[in-house]
């Protein structure tokens, strides 16, 4: 996997994250669930920033950044608060795994940026009631 390919995959993941977080936020009552609503908004803002940074990184390599899809599949049952939390948690786990591969396929300052993005996603998992993992982003070690 080249650095450019890994960057494009990360960008595609962030496009999906921005879309899904938008949907999760729309499903969440700010009055009934203020803490969850704030957490979703913060995550949405962070993923938008990461998406923009990735777009610039791809452009800097002389390539056309991957475009967002018109829509992304949403998990079912989002009328329930727990389903929203679960969807956000799974989203962060997916982003952590994607950024872990970007770490493997990059070097220098770009790798450092990927480590930071991986760590942010791993820590955000805890906001959505995730539990600490031994190696966030590396599922092949999950049962060790």
């Amino acid at each position: 996997v080249t650095t450019l390919e890994a960057l494009q995959r990360s960008l595609e993941a962030e496009h999906a994250a921005v879309y899904v977080y938008g949907a999760l936020g729309a499903q969440t009552s700010r009055t009934a669930e203020p803490a969850l609503s704030d957490a979703l908004l913060a995550a949405y803002t962070e993923h938008r920033a990461r998406r923009d940074q990735l777009t610039r990184a791809v452009s800097d390599l002389g390539a056309q950044p991957a475009a967002a899809a018109p829509a992304y599949a949403l998990p079912g049952g989002l009328v329930r608060v727990e389903a929203v939390r679960r969807a956000a948690l799974e989203l962060e786990r997916g982003c952590a795994a994607t950024y872990a591969w970007l770490v493997a396929s990059s070097a220098g300052t770009r790798r450092r940026w990927a480590v930071s993005a991986l760590t942010d996603a791993a820590v955000r998992e805890l906001v959505f009631r995730g539990t600490p993992e031994m190696l966030p982003g590396a599922d092949e070690f999950a049962d060790r």
């Binding site: 493997a104 770009r110 600490p132």
Partner: protein
Amino acid sequence: VLSGPRSVPTRRTALGGALLGLGALAGCDLGSSSERPSGRGASAADPDAALVDRVVDELDELTALVRRVGSRFEVLSVPMTALGSLHAAHRRALAGADEAPAGTGTATVRLAGPADALGRVRVREGQAQRRLVDWSVAAESGALARLLACMSAGVAQQLVVLPRGVGTRR
């Protein structure tokens, strides 16, 4: 700070196996990024061998510290056990064994009380987390860089759930 017996050949051999496994999972040679071809392997010329040794030594020191704190202050036994399990899992993933050699660790650190001990653990774990980031960036092998980055993220998660003070949950 005491250092345990060195076991370089074992670590290199185990690392080579671990990284081969990661490469197979990825279906590609992760060590060959377009920015920095690695060409690494579990050989005497392995550019990452010394780095792996440093990481294992760091894990052994952390393990010794959290074991000592957990056994001396019962109120901290639960979070120290969690940290100990984390470091053991990291050592296992990196070097193929989760036990540090006998005599390894921070034997000379004085712990004034549970609050002081907790503070020392927090500072030391935070330092380790930053070092893992630096070591990830320094690694020649992409697969090793990924593993070290995931280890750093695991420590970052534990720092979030580590109690802020004795008798508090976070």
